[in-house]
């Protein structure tokens, strides 16, 4: 058996860890620089993205700078697959085209949408918007305020959702997110005066009409020429 001096050399395990953390840092920087943060988080929690970017960058860089080790730290098979699994969500988020929750999710989140939505108690006294509609559907006091404004003009941006049971109207839907998309709740208004067959599910439109609250529903009487197709907004989810 020969004896050799212990060498300080690059550790493949540390290099691989630095790469995995670097991938997460790249994800957070990409979200930050492209504005895609709001596809996942609300404006309330958007600050998490720069925090993640900085800490993961520091972790990756620090690991890279300290990746030379005197001990033998090979990247074994199990660790390699585990680091791959940790990197997989990054690959998915970066590789997939930007997307938002659509009609499919409405039915899964109907608890909030059916009788209450994720809006906090608020006064419905300013210019009307979707969060006001949600607040009115959640809180009797807000609904009373909205009822007092029946007949006022309102402009709402949202995506089309159709119900088989209501062939003469479309639902205009918007998700309200307080933290991340996992807590998305639904705000919906019923649009009357339009021909539903001319609109497809998940199509984003801007509708101007007159608002009429009735019981727990909010109706908007619209004219066909008051509806315009719009692209998916930069911030597709609203924050109360």
């Amino acid at each position: 058996m020969s004896l050799v001096a212990r060498r300080v050399r690059w550790s493949s395990g540390r290099l691989a860890t630095a790469t995995a953390l670097g991938a997460w840092a790249a994800l957070f920087w990409t979200l930050l620089l492209t504005g895609r943060t709001y596809l996942y988080l609300s404006s309330r929690t958007a600050w998490l993205v720069p925090v993640g970017a900085v800490i993961f960058s520091a972790g990756a860089l620090g690991r890279l700078l300290t990746a030379r080790s005197a001990g033998d730290e090979p990247l074994d098979r199990r660790s390699a697959w585990m680091l791959g699994a940790i990197t997989l969500p990054v690959v998915l988020v970066l590789a997939l085209p930007p997307a938002t929750l659509g009609t499919y999710s409405v039915s899964k989140r109907s608890t909030f949408g059916g009788s209450a939505i994720g809006a906090t108690a608020r006064d419905v006294t300013g210019p009307l918007d979707f969060v006001d509609v949600g607040a009115a559907q959640s809180f009797p006091s807000a609904m009373r305020q909205l009822e007092g404004r029946a007949g006022e003009s309102i402009t709402l941006d949202g995506f089309v959702t159709k119900e088989a049971s209501e062939p003469n109207e479309i639902l205009l839907t918007r998700y309200i997110v307080t933290c991340c998309v996992a807590d998305a709740t639904v705000a919906q208004v019923r649009i009357v005066g339009l021909e539903p067959s001319q609109y497809a599910d998940d199509e984003w439109v801007s509708v101007t009409g007159l608002v009429y609250p009735f019981q727990r529903d909010v109706f908007v009487q619209a004219e066909p020429d008051s509806v315009t197709q719009i692209p998916v907004p930069d911030q597709p989810y609203l924050t109360p």
Partner: protein, 337 residues
């Protein structure tokens, strides 16, 4: 000698081993996934799009908190002497546990961040009971969570019941779990891998040790978080949350239903009050059950606990947290409805 060496340490020369090329397969698999995601357009399948968006959002929100927790954990490991925790561990449990719960006031991160810190505290010599008490209390009693609960319930009659009730019941539940864990030692509480997964690195420079612990904790927690987030996203995709509406008016079932929902949704404690506040068909007691139970037991935490703690820990936490939360919120229900 041309190569750099450390000291003059002599070790036996290792026998040459074939190079493990698993990393090439891993890299290939990741590239294949990226290509498939671009070519197959999985977003066109509604349920898959929903699942991927919710999965991604849970991780993008939780990972920075885990990173903050890992950062705190590495700082504790490298810069705080073990003797500090040994002194604390010698205090009577009746003092240690409330003090550990109150320490959460100074740690404003959500539940994902408190797990690596508690794990580190237990390894450094703090009694595991106190470490777990801190872990469970911190996500509820920290100032950010108190403020977010206040904002969510501002303007309602139940404001102070919700803010005060969440704080007090959260502390109570955390202390009870710590009490049940009792005098277990770190080796009994932490999983084998969690106890012995780090090399003895005291010979290394402090910076190297710091990054070893930071990245080690990040990688350790991330894998369990990913599993938990995937399960939570799958359930959110296929199970309509309207199933809990039917029991809104029933005394005990409404509490259990909201606790179950908190478990399934796996929300962050810093914003869950806004979601709880939207359940206007449920009374304050059921909403409190949601706000106390969720930050202590949910799907993503379940995965983290199973990876970090020994077999049986998750069961202990679920049983004690459920029982104490139920009793406490039942009392609120009797008083407040």
């Amino acid at each position: 000698m041309a190569t750099r060496t450390q000291a003059h340490e002599q070790v036996p020369a290792p026998a040459a081993e074939p190079r493990d090329l698993t990393w090439v397969w891993v890299l290939g698999a990741l590239v294949a996934v990226a290509l498939a995601a671009r070519v197959a357009h999985p977003n066109q399948v509604a349920w898959l799009r929903n699942l991927l968006i919710v999965f991604g959002s849970l991780l993008i929100e939780a990972m920075p908190f885990v990173a903050v927790g890992a950062l705190a954990s590495a700082l504790i490991e490298v810069f705080v002497p073990a003797s500090t925790f040994a002194k604390m561990a010698s205090l009577p449990r009746a003092v240690q546990l409330p003090a550990a719960a109150m320490a959460g006031l100074a740690f404003p991160v959500c539940e994902c961040g408190s797990v690596p810190v508690a794990r580190r505290l237990a390894r450094k010599g703090l009694s595991p009971a106190a470490a777990v008490t801190f872990m469970l209390a911190a996500p509820i009693v920290n100032p950010v969570v108190i403020a977010s609960t206040f904002v969510a319930y501002r303007g309602r009659d139940s404001l102070w019941v919700m803010v005060g009730g969440r704080f007090v019941i959260g502390m109570l539940v955390a202390i009870c779990v710590g009490w049940v864990i009792g005098a277990r030692r770190p080796g009994e509480l932490l999983r084998g891998a969690a106890v012995g997964d780090e090399p003895d690195d005291h010979d290394e420079p402090r910076a190297s040790r710091f990054f070893s612990h930071l990245t080690g904790d990040l990688v350790f927690m991330a894998r369990f978080l990913i599993v938990g987030a995937l399960i939570a996203a799958t359930i959110q995709t296929f199970v309509p949350s309207s199933i809990v509406d039917r029991v809104a008016g029933l005394p005990v079932l409404s509490l259990l239903a909201m606790m179950t929902l908190a478990f399934l949704l796996s929300l962050c404690s810093e914003s869950d009050a806004f979601v709880a506040a939207s359940f206007t068909s449920f009374g304050p007691s059921a909403q409190l059950a949601f706000l106390v139970f969720g930050p202590m037991v949910d799907l993503k935490l379940g995965a983290l606990y199973m990876g970090t703690y020994s077999k049986g820990f998750l069961r202990t936490v679920v049983v004690v947290v459920t029982a104490v939360t139920l009793v406490a919120t039942l009392w609120i229900q009797v008083v407040w409805g």
